[in-house]
Amino acid sequence: MILVLIEHDRGSLAPASLEALTAARTFGDAVEALTIGDTADGLAADLEAYGVTVVHQAHDDVLGDYGPEAWGEVVAQAVRALSPAVVLATGTDRGNEVLAQAAARLDLPFAANAIELRGSADADTLDMTRVRWGGSLLEDASLTAPTKLVTVAHHAVDAAPADTPGAATPSLLAVEIDPSLARTVVSGRVEREAGVTLATAPVVVGGGRGVGSADGFAPLQELADELGGVVGCSRAVTNNGWRNHTDQVGQTGTRIAPDVYFACGISGAIQHWVGAMASKHIIAINTDQQANMVTKAGHAVIGDLHEVVPAITAEIRRRKSA
């Protein structure tokens, strides 16, 4: 049996979890899910389409909001109780953190960010290809354990419903959580304003060193606004203090996967590329036709972004008003 950790935020499903569910089915074993906290009980219905047979639901006072230690403890107890062959989650911040917490508690190995899993779930050893260097390199690795704890790299798998839906039968998992683990439960939160985030935006307008200044991002913001997208940037930009690090796309910033990524004045260093490579379509705007980003993009405009970007915005407005 494959047990998949369903990530959610106080009851709202993290779509990334569907990628782990999709990957889990490739073993051909039964796929069961684990939801943590009673706020997530309603998610069971959403999981049917993904072929989940049973949804294990863990309830405890400590589980009202996310807490890495408490969640990790739940997974650990689930492993002890259910003896899954494999536990999967998607390699998000939380997915990796929770499985690492569970692994620590179980003293089992854990492999983060696999992109391909090979062999039978029940074998002693699970072979896989996993991401190193944020995706600049891959590693063939083997994980030897009675229960294999693995995350699937975010965006490595396209989430898809199962050919045959599962019953997603709810089943209460008895857990006993030390109340002291409340010490790492979210204690406060500044909710994000409504709107898209860098990680989820359908369009990202990214700027690099070529933007030249903090003010230089204004036309990029205008274009992003026009397309319902957000602005991103390269590491050079945050290092120069032109944008906040929250806007940084890259290995140490945010991984993005928009429908369209405008790479404006971005040379395409690997640090940035691994954060942007899941983009479905890239349009590069650069003065240098030979820039890495240009050669990796599907489309390119050779020119000064300060002239090209406003022209695109104007053209969109013109067509919209026509």
Partner: protein
Amino acid sequence: MSDASSTVPSSAKVVIIGAGIVGNCLAGHLARLGWTDMVLLDKGPLPNPGGSTGHASNFIFPVDHNKEMALLGVQSANQYRDVDRSVDCGGIEVARTQERMDELQRRMTSATAWGVEAKLLTPAEVKELVPFINDEIILGGFYCPTVSVVDSLDTGTLFRNEAIETTGMQVFANTEVLDIETEDETATGRQRVTAVVTDKGRIEAEYVVIACGVWSNRIANMAGATIPLVPAVHQMADVGPMDVLVETNNEIGYPIVRDMDTFCYERQSAGSMEVGSYAHRPILHHPDEIPSNDEAALSPTEMPFTQDDFDPQMEQAIELMEMLGDAEIKYAINGLLSLTPDAMPCLGECPDVDGLWSAAAVWVKEGPGMAQVVAEWMTYGYPRVIDAHGADIARFYDHERNDEHIWARASEHFNKTYGIVHPAEQWESRRNLQVSPLFSRQEEAGAFFFQARTWERPQWYESNADLVERYGIAEREVEWDNRWWSPITVGEHLNLREHCGMVDLSAFHLFDLEGPGAVEFADYLCVNKIGPVGRATYTPWLTPDGGFHSDLTMQRVDDDCVNVVTGVFDGGRDLAWIKHYMPKDGSVTVTDRTLDYSTLGLWGPKAPALLAELTDADLSHEGSPYGGIVKVQLNVATDGGTQLIDAALFRISYVGDSGWEIYVDWDDAPKLWDALMHHGRDAYGLRPTGGGVYGSSGRIEKGYRLQGAELESEYNPLEAGLDRPKVKSADFIGKEAYLAAREAGDPEVLMCCLTVDDDHDSQGRRRFFQGGNEPIMDLDGNVIFDSHGRVSRVTSATYGPSVGQQILMAYLPRELAEPGTKLQAMYWNERYPVTVVGTDGPFDPDNTRLKP
């Protein structure tokens, strides 16, 4: 619409490989000179392909003791100014030691010679310009207000764009050269370049120029050529920001400081200070070790900083500028630059491959100027802006072109980048690469060897130390004047004038031109007429513009054979010149005979009598006339018996006393040495005599010119005083220009000899000129320039033992060339009174010693 630039054209007249400062400027200069059909390639992206240009320190300190480097530095600085990519921030070389203060006096002298404004500063004056300097640890500074900081990337882009706009040059970045194809050029034994193969296609080309910086040798190797340079690390660290610098609004508000005694510089870069070092251990890399643009963390030539190497420099930097200690090290690299075996660039056509040109080992500070040199070379057959013989890639011999040599020499001179280098300074590494057949005898005689390129030549013989006492010769007072010098040289000189001396000339480079077209071709090379069999011709070889390329003798040894005899410093250049111009139809062959023959010079009043001990041939001026070659057999037996060797006696003199150059088989040379010593040592006062006499005191007392010193391409035979009354009817290289110069009438300048009237300095010490471009001035202290901007400077200097005065050689405007004219000459920033002797030397002006 698709990527139109993904394939290269199938042919072009010129393919330039490398879009750094050199390749870009070269393209621009070629365009200005009318070239079209050009392609520029680089493996990296534009505008910064990742070579040394991208991280260069970008400042120009336009003072150098070397004329080529100094004037091309000024020339380059002006080209950066012309495109408005230059800021004159000034620069100061500070001295921490007295030895360095002395060197700064020399720097003042050189700055004066090149017309570069400069002055010496007290520590307090330095602090006025650089308030954050610790003036307590410096003794003074050398300030040059025209030191500039340039934008080499932008300048390169402008030159490149100029070529694109005016000639339609095609540029391909991210294009890797995979091979350079060549074909055999049978007549010369060289290859001829035919095409460049890239990852975007093959381009047939007539000219291929390698301007690939640190990668140049690897690219040249593809064509079977070598460009002897090695990528070497120059460490740089950018520290800051610092308030005092930020307050200048990111302009360059303070002069660059060169902390000469610690081999380090501090240059403002916006709000930060860039600290660069030439003090660390030499760190060399093979070109194959340089990562690609993709593999490099920063760029290929910004290699990982090896911190331990830089630590000592930090302490010294903080000592000089306290504020550096607390500033953040934002960026630090092991930056790569190119070093050659002799610290000079590699310019010109590769001697092994026709049509393959090198524009390499050039730093940003001289980039545009050196590019102009190569562009003119390709256009006019030789550079016009300056004689680039010191940078001519053909100067290297085989021994100098392998990695072992390149690495050893680069390692040796790296730490001399800011060093105090004596004009006669000798190398420590890679000695005895090429020795004469007399080497063991010379060692026995205590020879002190100077190395001329690869050749070891005795400068003087310690076994002649007794002559110092005999002639009462004193050591020199100032150590610098004494360095790489011995009073024995004076003893050998006086002995030769009184008795005779024997000079090993085995380092002469000999090339046989043979075949039905040999004589005609030989005549085409030289100004003077090739004589009949048995005659030698002393003659210039001119550049197409009529300046000196070479100055040598050509011996007509047979009906269809002319032997070219040239000096060791020019052998490579002259052979390349021959191959460049020789007929490609097979009517002439060229053979290097350098190692087949050895030459011994025998001169002095007793030379004829001594030589007569070995032969019964008629050695009188009738039997062996001046300029004539007589083939004889010499009896070299030292036991009273008979042992004959073949010899050619060439009556000529470069020292002003009668005698011969004696040519014998290489292996026979020791027998000749032994025989001459056997017969001559006691009976005729013969002494082995070194280069200090032959190349310097003996020569200069007579005012004989030397290629590379007095004779350079900026000067023509009329100015050098080497023109003849008539011009031969046959065509020769530079004839048109030579005729024009003759028709123009009296030359504007004349090569002159001057004597130093009083050689005492302000401290009462006798000083001795080194012949290192010291400026000649009028009595008001004005440096003398002619209408072409050529400065009157000391091209050679010596103490003339036979005239008891120092003798200087310099070009002077005609009106100052009159004998007796009083002028001044600068040495170590002091002026000495001098008097013009005339166009000939002061010793034996009537040549009585050379006549019957």
